[in-house]
Amino acid sequence: MAIEEASTLTTARSSSKRPAGTLYRGNTGMWSWVLHRITGVAIYFFLLVHVLDTAMIRVSPGAYDAVMSTYKNPIMGLGETALVIAIMFHAFNGLRIILIDFWSKGAKYQRLMFWIVIALWVIGTAGFAPIHLANVFSEGH
């Protein structure tokens, strides 16, 4: 293995000076994996439901509007907000995984990229949540 090449098994030459486990064990590498897995499962189960609720447009306007009215309820609105936040983490961290795999410096900068993912996630949440919650909690429709 070339000396320059960063290994996925050690963070010895990572951008951080802190000793840690490996890319996957302990610290950011492991937690990003845990979150990626949990968000992936959550999005998967929502997708199953979402295809079925959208299929109601093929039944009748009344059937579709009835199922959509449940999504406009405030409790569901909080759930939708959480789901979009989960998708944002999965999407940004997915890009980080792809960069670790394909970018020659990906493994070296995986920890820095994790914090960039978190920053984008916070910015995305700050952009989305107020708009969606305002729509959900506004009167009338």
């Binding site: 293995m1 290994s7 996925t8 098994l9 897995r37 992936g40 499962v41 999005i43 998967y44 997708l47 199953l48 295809v51 079925l52 959208t54 299929a55 447009i57 093929r58 009748s60 306007p61 009344g62 579709y64 509007d65 959509m68 999504y71 406009k72 609105g77 939708e80 979009v84 998708i87 999407a91 997915g94 890009l95 995984i97 792809i98 795999d101 394909f102 989305f128 708009i131 969606h132 729509n135 959900v136 506004s138 009338g140 429709h141």
Partner: protein
């Protein structure tokens, strides 16, 4: 039973010479579909939840308006196929990681496969056979622009 973890970057044993390496293509698919899904899903969320009144504006007429153009039909169907296969393949990885009982594992994998096929077929049919003025729709629910039957 002894499990040997090989050194990283050990060349894979070529027992299946000449055959398709599905695991490799699955790995590539997760990454390729992921990049496309970022555009498709963020676009989907922006148009449906952020623009205008967001979720409050979504009803039958809103969807009928979107599916009046092939653009959103194709957008949604491509997103459906990519996401359903990506999600199911990801769930397959997770099942393989945690389901140690071979019978349970087999049942879960079959369930994932069946769910994926059924929902991809259903969703694709819904988008491409959708007719906002379908004669199956009760007259009192019909949209105003539909011819009165």
């Amino acid at each position: 039973m002894s499990t040997i973890i090989e050194a990283p970057r050990t060349p894979r044993e070529r027992s299946s010479k000449g055959r398709v390496n599905w695991e490799k293509w699955g790995w590539i698919y997760m990454r390729a579909s992921g990049v496309l899904l970022i555009i498709l899903i963020f676009g989907h969320l922006f148009v449906n939840l952020v623009l205008g009144q967001g979720i409050k504006a979504i009803d039958f007429a809103f969807v009928a308006g979107k599916y009046a153009t092939p653009f959103w039909q194709i957008w949604d169907v491509v997103m459906l196929w990519l996401a359903m296969i990506h999600g199911s393949n990801g769930m397959r990885t997770i099942v393989n990681d945690y389901a140690s009982n071979p019978v349970v594992r087999r049942i879960l994998l079959i369930a994932l496969f069946v769910a994926a096929v059924v929902l991809i077929v259903l969703g694709t049919l819904v988008v491409f056979t959708f007719d906002p003025c379908s004669t199956l729709i009760p007259a009192d629910q019909a949209l105003s622009f539909c011819p009165v039957s």
